[in-house]
Amino acid sequence: MSKLDMFTDLRKSVSALTGLVLITLIVLVALFGPWIAPADPLIPSPLIRLQGPSAQHLFGTDSLGRDMLSRVIYGARISLMIGIISVTISLVPGTILGLLSGYFGKRIDSIIMRCMDMLLAFPAILLAIFITAILEPSLTNTMVAVGIVYIPHYARIVRSSVLSLKGMLFVEAISHLGGGHLRILLKHILPNCLPPIIVYATLGMGTAVLQAAALGFLGLGAQPPSPEWGAMLSEGRQYIQLAPHVAAFPGAAILILVLGFNLFGDGLRDVLDPSLRSQ
C-alpha cells in the first residue's frame, strides 16, 4: 500500500475512532456517574462557594459550593438523554413523512413538503425558543422542541433516498409482482434508506445536544438546580470575572460530546454513504 492511501485511510479511521473514543468516554461517565462522582451534585455547601480547581474539587465549586466535577458528571446523563430522545422525536416522524412523501408523491408529497418548508422558514433555534416558550420552559419541552425543529431535515433526506430508490428496477419489479405498499415500504425501501439516516442521526445527536444546551443557557431549557450543562453555563456566566471555571468545564464537556458525535458521524459517512460527502 502506498503512503498516500495509508494517509487517507488513517485519517478516516482516526477521525471515526477518535469520535468513538470521546462518545464512549462520556457514555461511561454517564453510566457510572453515581459511583465516580465525588460528591452529590445538588447539595449546596455555602462555606466553599466559587472555589477554583483544587485537589479536593478537581473542577472547583460553583456559587452554591456544589462540586463542579460531580455536576458535570451528572450532566453527561442529561445531555446523552437529550440527544437520544430529541433525535428519536425528529427521526421517527421525519422518516415516516419522508417515506410517505417520496413513495406516494403527487399531492401527498407536495402537502408534506410545503409544511416542512414552513418549519424550515424559521431559524432552528428561534423555532425551538418559540416552542419551549409556548410549552413552558423545562427539560422535557426542550427535547420536544429540538425534536420538532429537526423533523424536516430527516423528512427531506429520507424522501430523496426514497425517490432515488423508487426509480430502481427491483422496486418496480416487486410492485409488479403485487407487493402491498406497506410491505414494499418497510421491507424493501426503508432498509435501503438506512445508511443516510444513520449518518444523519449521528450528526444530529451532536446538533441536538448543542441546541438543547443553548436553550438551557438562555434559561428556556432545564431549570436550576438541574446539572444540565447549558443551564450550568448560564449560572457560570454571572461569575465569569470571579470564577471562570464555573463556565469553563460544562462548556468544554458540551464541546467534547458534540465533537465526538461529529467526528464519528463524519467517519461513518465516509464509510456508509460516499454520496453525502460533499455536503
Partner: protein
C-alpha cells in the same frame, strides 16, 4: 435572468411569508388564555383589554381575526410592546440594524478566513496544515458558541483587558444616527475615537458569531476546490502558462464559489440563530436579544413581530443567495 424570474421568486417569497404569518397567528392563539390579555400583559385595565379585543376582532370569527391581523401586518403595524408601550415595528427596526451590523461583520470574517483556510487545505491536501485546519474546522462546527463567547470575554476582557465586555460603544462616546450602523456612522461623522471604540466592541461578538459559519465555509471550500482542481479547464489554465496563484484564485476558486454560496445559504438559520446567543452573551442590543427578553417579559406582540421579521430575513437572504448564484454561474444566467 429575466424580470419574470425575479417576480416568480418574489411571489414565492410572499407565499412563504403568508404561511409563516398563519403559523404565528395560530401559535399565539394556541397559548391557553385570552390573546388580548397575552398581548397587553397581566396589568392591563379592563378598558384596555376591551378596546384591544374590539380592535383584534376577538369577538368575531377566526377568519375575521386573521383578516385584521394580516392587514395590520401589511401596513407595518405589529402592535405595541407591553414593556415599553412603544410600537413594536419601531423597536424592531432599531435592533434589526444592530443585528445586521453584527451579522455582516461575522459574515465577512467567516468568508475571508473560511475560504482562505479551505483553499490552503485543498492546495496542500494531505499536509499537516490540511489535517490541522480540518480538525479545527470540525471543532468549530461542534462549538457551543455561547461558551466560546464567555471564554473570549474572560480571556480578552478580564484576564487581559484589551477589549470591552459588552455593548456597542463606550459610555460617553456618541455618534449621530445616520445609518444605524455604528462604525459607518462614526466614519461619516469623522469621529475617529468613536470608530475605534465601536470596532473594539464589535470584535469579540463578531468572531464568536463567525466561528461556526467559518468552519462550515472552510470545509465546503476545501471539498469544492479539490473537485475543481481536477477539472480539465484548470489544466488548460496551467497549459497557458498562468501562474499558480492565477490558476487557483481566478480559474479554480471562482468555480468553487458555487457550492460555497449554496451551503452558506442553507446554513443561514444557523447564523441568525447564533445571533440570538451572541447578542445575549455580549449584551448586544440586537434583535436576538430582544426576542429572548420579550419572551421572558411575556411581551407577545414583540415576540410575534420578531419571528415574522426573522422569517422574512431568512426568505430575503435566500432570495439574495439565489441571485448571487445566477451572477456567479453564467450557465444559469443565460438559460433562465
Amino acid at each position: 435572468m429575466t424580470l419574470g424570474y425575479i417576480s416568480k421568486r418574489l411571489f414565492h417569497l410572499a407565499l412563504i411569508m403568508f404561511g409563516v404569518s398563519v403559523v404565528v397567528f395560530l401559535m399565539l392563539r394556541m397559548i391557553p388564555g385570552d390573546p388580548a390579555q397575552l398581548l397587553l400583559g397581566e396589568f392591563a385595565s379592563p378598558e384596555e383589554l376591551a378596546r384591544l379585543r374590539e380592535q383584534l376582532g376577538l369577538n368575531q370569527s377566526l377568519f375575521t381575526q386573521f383578516w385584521i391581523y394580516i392587514s395590520n401586518i401589511v401596513q407595518g403595524d405589529m402592535g405595541h410592546s407591553v414593556r415599553t408601550n412603544a410600537p413594536v415595528t419601531g423597536e424592531i427596526w432599531v435592533r434589526l440594524i444592530a443585528t445586521l451590523e453584527l451579522s455582516l461583520a461575522a459574515m465577512c470574517i467567516a468568508t475571508v478566513f473560511g475560504i482562505a483556510a479551505g483553499v490552503m487545505s485543498a492546495v496542500k491536501q494531505h499536509s499537516l496544515w490540511d489535517y490541522g485546519a480540518m480538525f479545527m474546522a470540525l471543532v468549530g462546527v461542534s462549538m457551543p458558541i455561547f461558551w466560546l463567547g464567555l471564554m473570549l470575554i474572560y480571556l480578552f476582557a478580564v484576564k487581559f483587558p484589551l477589549l470591552p465586555m459588552m455593548g456597542r460603544i463606550s459610555l460617553g462616546l456618541e455618534v449621530p444616527d445616520v445609518t444605524g450602523l455604528m462604525m459607518v456612522d462614526a466614519v461619516v461623522a469623522g469621529n475617529w475615537q468613536s470608530f475605534v471604540s465601536a470596532l473594539k466592541h464589535l470584535l469579540l461578538p463578531a468572531f464568536t458569531l463567525a466561528t461556526i459559519p467559518m468552519a462550515i465555509v472552510a470545509r465546503i471550500t476545501r471539498s469544492a476546490m479539490l473537485e475543481v482542481l481536477n477539472m480539465d479547464y484548470v489544466r488548460t489554465a496551467r497549459a497557458k502558462g498562468m501562474t499558480e496563484l492565477v490558476v487557483i484564485f481566478r480559474h479554480a476558486l471562482r468555480n468553487a464559489f458555487l457550492p460555497v454560496v449554496t451551503v452558506l445559504g442553507l446554513n443561514l438559520g444557523l447564523l441568525l440563530g447564533g445571533a440570538v446567543l451572541t447578542e445575549t452573551i455580549f449584551s448586544w442590543p440586537g434583535l436576538g436579544r430582544y426576542v429572548v427578553d420579550s419572551l421572558s417579559g411575556r411581551d407577545y406582540a414583540a415576540v410575534q413581530g420578531c419571528i415574522l421579521v426573522f422569517a422574512l430575513l431568512m426568505a430575503v437572504i435566500n432570495l439574495a443567495v439565489d441571485l448571487i448564484y445566477v451572477v456567479l454561474d453564467p450557465r444559469i444566467r443565460v438559460n433562465e
